[in-house]
């Protein structure tokens, strides 16, 4: 990345609705050619304002930005003609889907023949062929969103801004669009992408900027963010046999002494309790594994399975914004969980969307 061509750079960029009331402040980010930058943040974090600033829809009240070598403030039409924007709000003309694509290409000055073939490509790619003669408002929510993205791709651009482009899309459509965007990025298109769906940001983005209450908290690759802010990880240990109460006690105390929070079993050992499997959470889960292996061997217990959850972007995100119970994200209540070790923002438990686990492959 050291020799990458920077196509967008902001320095302390900010926008205040009125004096002292900032929607975004001190925003310093970079975007390389062919790179996908994700903007993550809660509702009202400043993502849409950032997109509107960078597409000249809003004039910055402070800071500077250069896009494709031009000053954002003076770039004007010359700059905008090299950008593509899918806004959060649905925008449409009162003609059929096909005519909308054609009309939009005409407005952008795309030659007629190019527009015609591109429209066919987009209709197929975004699975809109069967609704090509319908008016956009007669489409389903997901179809309308796909139409918005398809229409923007009718013209050439160097940077594409996508403000929550996958809202309302089913998993298959979302995957297809993300794959296409990834492919376009590989061919040199730079993309700025806002989303609430952290998994898709993880899938698509080369780097992620986390915004919170109008400030930039961190910018890094998804992997680095997960490592830096991913928080505690969950470990599940399964022994081949049930542990006697004395060994349960010893094992749990051993885990506690090493800083782990035991999730299962809860409380004192009782008759009928499953004492062959244990779950705990730890900031240093991997350093505990040698001790577990040694301890089980020394006590004559077969370690049947040991799995450790991967750090997730969601965990990192929640860790960064200090979220958890009041995070405002659109997940079911069951996926929100507060840490038992006092740290906010741990990954959700196994079996939920964030609980990606890595099997450590312990043989029987």
């Amino acid at each position: 990345m050291a020799d990458r061509e920077v196509v967008l750079r902001t320095q302390d960029l900010g926008y205040a609705y009125r004096p002292g009331q900032y929607a975004i402040r001190h925003l310093s980010i970079e975007l390389g050619r062919g790179e996908v930058l994700g903007l993550l943040g809660r509702n009202g974090a400043g993502k849409t304002t950032t997109v509107r600033l960078l597409t000249t829809l809003l004039p910055p009240t402070e800071g500077t930005a250069w896009i494709l070598g031009q000053d954002l403030r003076s770039g004007g039409r010359g700059l905008r003609s090299r950008l593509g924007v899918v806004l959060q709000a649905e925008s449409l003309d009162f003609v059929s889907v096909e005519r909308n694509l054609d009309l939009y290409a005409f407005m952008w000055g795309v030659p007629r023949e190019v527009a015609k073939s591109r429209a066919e490509e987009m209709l197929e790619l975004f699975e809109l062929g069967h609704v090509r003669r319908r008016k956009p408002w007669a489409l389903s929510g997901g179809e309308r969103r796909r139409f918005q993205v398809a229409r923007e791709l009718m013209h050439d651009m160097e940077i594409l801004f996508l403000d929550e482009p996958t809202v309302g899309l089913d998993a298959l459509a979302r995957r297809r669009i993300l794959k296409y965007l990834r492919e376009r990025a590989r061919r040199g298109l730079s993309i700025v992408f806002t989303t609430h769906i952290l998994h898709e940001a993880d899938m698509l983005c080369d780097r992620i900027a986390v915004l919170h209450q109008g400030s930039l908290l961190a910018t890094d690759t998804p992997e680095c963010l997960k490592q830096r802010f991913g928080g505690a990880r969950e470990v599940r240990v399964e022994f081949g046999d049930a542990l006697p109460p004395a060994h349960v006690q010893e094992f749990v105390v051993g885990l506690h002494e090493r800083g782990a929070s035991v999730l299962q079993p809860e409380g004192a050992v009782a008759p009928g309790m499953d004492t062959s499997s244990f779950e705990f959470r730890s900031d240093k889960a991997e350093t505990l594994l040698p001790w577990i292996t040694t301890w089980s061997g020394s006590r004559g217990h077969v370690l049947e399975r040991l799995s450790i959850s991967e750090p997730t972007l969601e965990g990192a995100f929640l860790g960064m914004i200090g979220g958890g119970e009041q995070d405002g994200l659109d997940e079911p209540e069951t996926e929100r969980r507060t840490s038992t070790n006092g740290r906010p923002g741990n990954p959700p438990p196994p079996g939920t969307s964030g609980g990606l686990r890595r099997d450590m492959g312990v043989a029987k």
Partner: protein, 257 residues
């Protein structure tokens, strides 16, 4: 060859706004008014009340003048819908200047107004014959409708930049249309028996200035009074256009209902 941005926007305005039903209603309604109202009232309104001509002959220039309102409404509504459906934002994020979008709307107004003039004259010819007007008279008619269209479009666009609710916009738009047409000399002349308060309002209505200029052009009676009326209309159009331009500069592009 790529058209200049303003023309691309005008084409887009036409394509996106061309709804056969609304076009038929918008231009058909005044055409029917000329035929029905003109015929019926010609038999009961004495020519002495309408400057020595039939009521139909009196009404046609009025309905031609009214096309400034029709053209203005087309652009005002188009702008409102563009704003409501976020096309304003989408266009502003593209290779267009705000001034070009505004100019595109004005040009759209002019074209719709002129089309309306052609329809009105076309409907009137079988009833009153082809008006024997000079090129200067014709230019006066077109200039009057054009300036009037800019005035009304500018007014509605300026309103559209401020209002954030469709109900408010369309209520005010309907009221303004009613006010302009009924408190003007489109349907009836102001005579000695007209109540003074009503006459005062009618005499400051821009549509009255337009109807006055067009009636005189239709009657080959251009003179200083027509120029004054045209001047006033031009000044009103300028003020209204500046208001629309100012509204554009300071417009909040956020969502509206």
């Amino acid at each position: 060859m790529t058209l200049p941005p303003i023309l691309r926007l005008v084409v887009r305005n036409f394509v996106s706004n061309f709804d056969p039903i609304s076009v038929v209603v918008r231009f058909g309604q005044p055409a029917v008014t000329i035929v029905v109202l003109g015929t019926m009232f010609s038999s009961i309104v004495p020519a002495s009340q309408t400057g020595g001509q039939s009521y139909t002959s009196f009404l046609v220039p009025g309905m031609v003048a009214f096309q400034m309102v029709s053209g203005g409404v087309v652009s005002g509504n188009l702008f409102w819908l563009d704003r409501r459906w976020a096309m304003v934002e989408q266009i502003f994020s593209g290779p267009f200047l705000r001034s070009e979008y505004l100019a595109g709307l004005v040009l759209t107004t002019l074209l719709f107004s002129l089309f309306g003039v052609a329809v009105m004259v076309g409907v009137a010819v079988p009833l009153i014959g082809l008006p024997a007007i000079s090129l200067l008279d014709l230019a006066t008619v077109l200039a009057t409708v054009g300036l009037g269209g800019i005035f009304f479009a500018g007014l509605l666009i300026a309103l559209g930049t401020r209002l954030r609710s469709a109900n408010a916009y369309f209520s005010i738009q309907s009221f303004l249309q009613l006010f302009l047409i009924f408190l003007s000399t489109v349907y009836y002349p102001v005579g000695p028996s007209t109540p003074r308060a009503l006459a005062a309002v009618i005499n400051v209505n821009p549509l009255t200035f337009a109807a006055f200029a067009i009636r005189h052009a239709f009657a080959n009676q251009l003179g200083p009074a027509v120029l004054v009326n045209l001047g006033i209309l031009g000044a009103l159009a300028a003020v209204s256009f500046v208001a629309a331009a100012w509204g554009f500069r300071s417009m909040n592009l956020g969502p509206i209902q």
